[in-house]
């Protein structure tokens, strides 16, 4: 349970990061929080010859907001995102997800970008990114490109990132500020903080009449990678999110579900529970928004 030997570099500038990656080719790995990479190295599932530590690259940490997006830089710690006022205000779904990511000790070290780049389909950050349709900025020595999360996480543990690319930031569209916006994440997990069997997220915005004018949903654990159920969002648009409307609409995901059985839960269980869990998240978010309306 000890990692194999490797070389270690600690660049302070993004240009150095990408030139190290270009130089080392397939043998290099970026380390940010290391909360997934280090266990994989200890178990020798990966054996990089070079670790490029990006924790000292100031351009890769922090959260900023401009008119049309909230930019979370890749090496921002999950705990810092959870404490951020900007995130709480305009990316409430991410704020709601943070307490579900691993444990206190791992959130203090683990990063938002690391979670996305790792591509673990059970990661809450990926669920939120899918639901909110984030844009990812990637950088290599050859240049920059931006990829929508839908085209980024293509299969479990598989992203379209090239070996020489570094994830720079995830850009979120801010939630509307003229609505009562609330967000809820619900999970089925064997223990708090463990890999979830199923997780769902809902961010809703109600107008003063209680009508739903903003809805973003995510479902994870019932398809190879998390997905955003547009059909449910469309079905519930401009509704009052009444219980029966919600309970009908969530079953629109049934034909899309494609779960696998594993040691944690059967495919049949995942198929049966996913719609109800999504419904619960929507109703809980609605109830909280309604409370804040009166």
């Amino acid at each position: 349970m000890k990692a194999a030997t490797f070389e270690y570099v600690r660049p302070t500038h993004i240009d150095e990061v990408v030139s190290e990656l270009a130089r080392a080719g397939t043998d290099a790995r970026i380390i940010a929080g290391g909360q997934s990479l280090v266990p994989m190295m200890a178990m020798r599932l990966v054996r990089p010859e070079l670790l490029v530590d990006i924790n000292h690259v100031s351009e890769l940490t922090g959260i900023g907001k401009n008119n049309d997006s909230v930019c979370v830089r890749a090496a921002t710690r999950q705990a810092d995102a959870g404490r951020s006022e900007i995130i709480a205000r305009v990316v409430p779904m991410l704020a709601a997800a943070v307490p579900f990511i691993g444990h206190n000790q791992t959130r203090n070290r683990g990063t938002i970008g690391g979670s996305l780049a790792h591509g673990d389909p059970t990661a809450e950050v990926l669920l939120v990114a899918m639901a909110l349709g984030v844009t990812l900025d990637l950088r290599s020595e050859k240049g920059e490109r931006s990829v929508n999360i839908k085209d980024f996480a293509v299969a479990p543990m598989e992203t379209v990132m090239e070996e020489d690319e570094c994830l720079v930031a995830a850009r979120f569209q801010p939630a509307p500020t003229d609505l009562r916006v609330t967000a809820v994440v619900e999970e089925v997990a064997p223990r708090a903080g463990d890999y979830a069997i199923l997780s769902v997220s809902a961010e809703i915005g109600l107008d003063l009449g209680g009508f739903c004018r903003h809805l973003r949903l995510g479902v994870s654990g019932a398809t190879p990678v998390p997905f955003r159920p547009h059909m449910v969002e469309i079905a519930l648009a401009d509704s009052l999110l009444a219980d029966d409307e919600v309970d009908d609409a969530v079953h629109l995901i049934d034909p899309v579900l494609d779960p696998e059985s594993d040691v944690q839960a059967s495919a049949a269980y995942r198929r049966r529970v996913a719609p109800g869990l999504l419904g619960r998240a929507i109703r809980t978010a609605r109830d909280r928004a309604v409370v804040s309306l009166v």
């Binding site: 349970m1 030997t5 270690y8 600690r10 909360q35 206190n104 000790q105 791992t106």
Partner: protein, 158 residues
């Protein structure tokens, strides 16, 4: 190839030469001979190896020692009073019998310390959340929760 590393451990500047693949917990236990920090799973599951990095709890089996360059590490040995007697939090664990075999205890102390640094009067749910990343195979956690609550009460009185 060995590389130089300099960091602060329990207030003391330490310089050493290490292989980059040495984890912080192995460095602490085998090079600095601070064996209070325990190592259980070596892959981030059990929490036994928790230490404070710049004041926040992390898992020292998931950090290479070389990454701690320039940082401040506090281990369970750093929680004692200046005269070497048990610190308030440690004494609260003693008082409530919050350990049996003691394997998890250093990690529990660090997790609890991190919580109390942020919250003077945590609820039971908050205490349980704070130690949720630390496994204990003996106590059933009840006395550990009691210990943290006792320590919080004592700290508020100070």
């Amino acid at each position: 190839m060995k590389r130089a590393v300099t960091l602060t451990i329990n207030g003391e500047a330490i310089s050493s030469e290490i292989e980059p693949r040495t984890t912080l917990v192995d460095f602490l236990r085998e090079d600095v001979m601070l064996t209070g920090t325990h190592v259980g799973c070596e892959h981030g599951v059990c929490g036994a190896c928790s230490v404070l990095l710049d004041g926040t709890p992390i898992r020292s089996c998931l950090l290479f020692a070389i990454q701690a360059e320039g940082h401040e590490v506090t281990t369970v040995e750093g929680l004692v009073e200046e005269d070497g007697s048990l610190g308030l939090l440690q004494d609260s664990f003693w008082e409530t019998h919050a350990m049996q075999c003691g394997y998890c205890t250093p990690g529990m102390l660090i997790a609890a310390y991190g919580l109390l640094a942020e919250s003077a009067d945590p609820t039971e749910a908050e205490i349980r959340e704070a130690i949720s990343g630390n496994l204990c195979r003996c106590t059933g956690y009840v006395q550990i929760v009691d210990a943290v609550r006792l320590a919080a009460a004592r700290m508020r009185q100070q």
